[in-house]
């Protein structure tokens, strides 16, 4: 049990420390790298809680895809970071306010569990016993069976957002020469090459 707590505190400490480094690192690329470290340690915390599926999905989605795009964009930015740092402190009140709101909400949630223990039971009723069902299976049955309509609705909203983004950025440009692979593959030798017997001094 001691080892379990020690690993928990290790991952938690690294996650918090890298979270601090995300906002305090001078170089934005370093910030993104610390963000990845923070994701990783959160995934490790999920594993410690027995939520292995969530841990893997966190790594696949956030580290494997989202953070790559972040890094991609941040690396290509060509801005003077000193200048950007300048005046960053004036955002401190807003950032602090957001932090305090989040903290208050967390305190309310956990406080209500401490004050009224039956509140925690309400949240855990749909969760099957982890020793009977793997959490992949449990998540699947909650997401795709119990709440399938909400899941579909979320999917539709995302689809509409995606179509909207494509429509907004699509523009037809004239005078562009595009490669048509089907046309290329459909070309036969007889369409393009003509073998001609040229008589001497005759020309074609």
């Amino acid at each position: 049990m001691i080892i379990h707590s020690l690993t928990f505190y290790m991952f938690a400490a690294v996650a918090v420390a890298s979270g601090v480094m995300v906002i305090s690192a001078r170089n934005p690329v370093h910030s993104v790298l610390f963000l990845i470290l923070a994701f990783f340690n959160s995934a490790a915390l999920f594993v410690l809680m027995g939520a292995e599926f969530l841990a893997m999905v966190l790594v696949v989605v956030y580290v494997g895809a989202v953070a790559v795009l972040f890094l991609f964009v941040v690396m290509m930015l060509d801005i003077n970071f000193r200048e950007m740092r300048h005046g960053a402190l004036q955002y401190l009140p807003i950032g602090g306010l957001v932090g305090i709101v989040l903290l208050a909400e967390l305190v309310l949630v956990f406080g209500s569990w401490a004050v009224a223990p039956e509140a925690a039971d309400v949240a855990t009723i749909p969760t099957p016993d982890p020793t009977v069902v793997t959490n992949t299976h449990a998540l699947g049955s909650v997401l795709y069976t119990r709440f399938v309509y909400l899941f579909q609705a979320a999917g539709m909203i995302l689809l509409v957002a995606m179509v909207g983004a494509i429509v907004l950025t699509l523009r037809q440009r004239d005078g562009l020469r595009r490669q048509s692979i089907a046309e290329q593959n459909a070309r036969r030798k007889s369409d393009t090459i003509e073998v001609v017997k040229v008589p001497s001094r005759g020309g074609v």
Binding site: I3, N27, V29, H30, L33, I36, E52, F53, M56, V57, V59, V60, V63, G64, A65, V68, L69, L71, F72, M75, M76, T134, T136, H137, Q179, I181
Partner: protein
């Protein structure tokens, strides 16, 4: 004290022993994969290949390794030192940690976790960081262009790999790699899911940055891409990581589609051969195709690469997921774990 020994120290020692038992043969396999690559391509191009160091040139990989080890490590003046040194380490470590969940035989696996295939998918999607960090930290145009190409390429092909994995999972009903292998006792998934097998293999080529998708290190345009600025062991780590990823991709192909450690047919002379040998043979066969492809096909142009990933493989694999799911439901072939 006895309790501490029994519950912590002994399991840790055992795991370390298992890790050594996996990593040492893996490193040897990587070394001899480079040798096999040179020999196979030489044979295909009617050359001799390495034949000077040792009998049949068998000591060539050792000589190459020693040479790289003894060279000077150079860190460019404009480089971001920490990230520059970290990048090859990340590439190599990620190539090794994935092997923790690979089942070599019935029950012969270091960590038999429930979400094995997701773990593999997660680790292989992280491979891009080594390259992208190397490209950025080198502070060089060529390296940076290589890194950008690689990031876009690996993200694109991961999508179709994900759908292929979902197709296989629909037929298995479990994310555990041992279960995936055991589900293929009657028929290897390569036969009913042949198009997905092909898509997976080609995406694997793109994911490991191998020819004909080796644009991140296209030597004709980018000198050598993301690793131009690296020398000595740092370069060797990239090199070893790339080859370890090739072996890993072949291992994934054999587990998902070629029945892992299972013999082709469960009859007398074939099932006497132990499972790990079958597994190694299947990996070797996949690796041979990797090398064969490299000796055969010209490199793709960048827009063709993106077209193949997004406009051909993605719709194809998406359609196949739907077809597979439809057939499984219509025929009532869903595995028990899903239906129940």
């Amino acid at each position: 004290m006895v309790d501490f020994w029994a519950s912590y120290a002994w399991p840790t020692a055992k795991i370390v022993l298992y890790i050594i038992a996996i990593v040492v043969p893996l490193l040897l396999a990587i070394a001899y994969l480079t040798y096999a690559e040179r020999k196979v391509i030489a044979a295909m191009q009617m050359r001799k290949g390495p034949n000077v160091v040792g009998p049949f040139g068998l000591l060539q990989p050792i000589a190459d390794g020693l040479k790289l080890l003894l060279k000077e490590t150079i860190i460019p003046a404009g480089a971001n030192r920490v990230v520059f040194v970290l990048a090859p380490m990340i590439t190599f470590i990620l190539a090794l940690v994935a092997w923790a969940v690979i089942p070599f035989g019935p029950g012969v696996v270091l960590a038999d976790i429930n979400v094995g295939i997701l773990y593999l998918f997660a680790i292989s999607s992280l491979g891009v960081y080594g390259i992208i960090m190397a490209g950025w930290a080198s502070n060089s145009r060529y390296a940076f262009l290589g890194a950008l190409r690689s990031a876009a390429q690996m993200v694109s092909y991961e999508v179709s790999i994900g759908f292929v994995i979902i197709t296989v999972l629909l037929c298995v009903g479990s994310l555990n790699l041992s279960d995936i292998v055991l589900a293929q006792q009657n028929i290897w998934f390569a036969i009913p899911l042949l198009p997905m097998f092909v898509v997976f293999f080609i995406s694997g080529l793109a994911e490991t940055n191998r020819a004909p998708f080796d644009l991140p290190e296209a030597e004709a345009e980018l000198v050598s891409g993301y690793n131009v600025e690296y020398s000595s062991m740092a370069f060797a780590l990239f090199f070893l990581g790339e080859y370890a990823n090739m072996i890993l991709m072949s291992a994934m192909t054999s587990i998902l589609f070629l029945g892992g450690w299972l013999p082709p047919v469960d009859v007398a002379p074939l099932n006497w051969i132990p499972g790990p040998v079958w597994f190694a043979l299947k990996i070797a066969a996949c690796l041979f195709v990797f090398l064969w492809v490299r000796a055969t096909f010209p490199r793709y142009r960048y827009d063709q690469l993106m077209r193949l990933g997004w406009k051909v493989f993605l719709p194809l694999s998406l359609a196949w997921v739907i077809i597979t799911a439809g057939v499984l439901v219509a025929m009532d072939w869903l595995p028990d774990t899903i239906a129940g």
